[in-house]
């Protein structure tokens, strides 16, 4: 996962590049949680453009973030 943070506008962009299944979702979640706590963003963008596979574990990840 590539992480971009716009300091001025407090926008955290999480560019996911991994296949998102239940196995990978745990790591992605931990990484995302860490960045959210550290940066305290006003807005989070989840960028799925480079995701080649995603099952319902990905939906679970998104629902939880909302």
């Amino acid at each position: 996962m590539r992480i971009n943070f716009n300091d001025q506008e407090k926008i955290l962009t999480l560019e996911i590049e991994e296949e998102i299944d239940h196995h990978m979702a745990g790591n992605l979640r931990r990484e995302a949680d860490y960045e959210i706590q550290r940066r305290n963003p006003k807005r989070i963008i989840l960028d799925f453009n480079n995701v080649v596979f995603m099952d319902s574990a990905g939906i679970g990840m998104v629902i939880r973030k909302i």
Binding site: R29, F53, D55, S56, G60, M61, I63
Partner: protein, 151 residues
């Protein structure tokens, strides 16, 4: 030896470790490739296998060293995929099939697994006996498309 009624078949057996989710879906997709599916059909199969195998890993067993089996076979343009475990079994199949229902909310599951499989595959059958295990049978019919380059 009895003659098989299908054109091809394969058996796969692996431990209930989450790292095997990608192994299972890629292997079944590779087996399905001989039917010449399009990208969408392959993606549907991979997603469905991933959902069902994940269910077995999360719900059937408490440990990650139990066995999950996949038996898949091809007949004409249809691939059948059976995923079975010898785990806990599903208490209420109708409830488990309900969109957004999950018995493991603490794991942040979306509860969309069976709904996705029902939509992506042409047939889904769930057989389960409490304490004995679960067998999921899914079918996908691969459409035969005329290749415009060959005509």
């Amino acid at each position: 030896m009895t003659k098989k009624s299908y054109d091809n078949e394969m058996n796969l057996e692996f431990l209930s470790k989450s790292s095997n989710e990608s192994f299972a879906r890629i292997t079944v997709a590779a087996f399905a490739a001989q039917l010449d599916p399009n990208i969408e059909e392959i993606s549907d199969i991979k997603t469905a296998v991933s959902e069902i195998v994940t269910n077995a890993i999360i719900h059937a067993y408490d440990s990650n060293d139990e066995i999950i089996k996949i038996h898949s076979y091809i007949k004409d343009n249809c691939i059948t995929i059976e995923v079975s475990d010898t785990g806990k079994g599903i208490e209420d199949i109708e409830l488990a099939k309900k969109p957004l229902y999950t018995s493991k909310a603490e794991l942040e599951r979306s509860g969309m697994g069976f709904t996705i499989v029902e939509n992506f595959m042409d047939d889904l059958k769930i057989e389960s006996i409490l304490g004995l295990g679960t067998k999921i049978t899914m079918k996908k019919i691969i459409t035969k498309e005329e290749n415009s380059l060959e005509s």
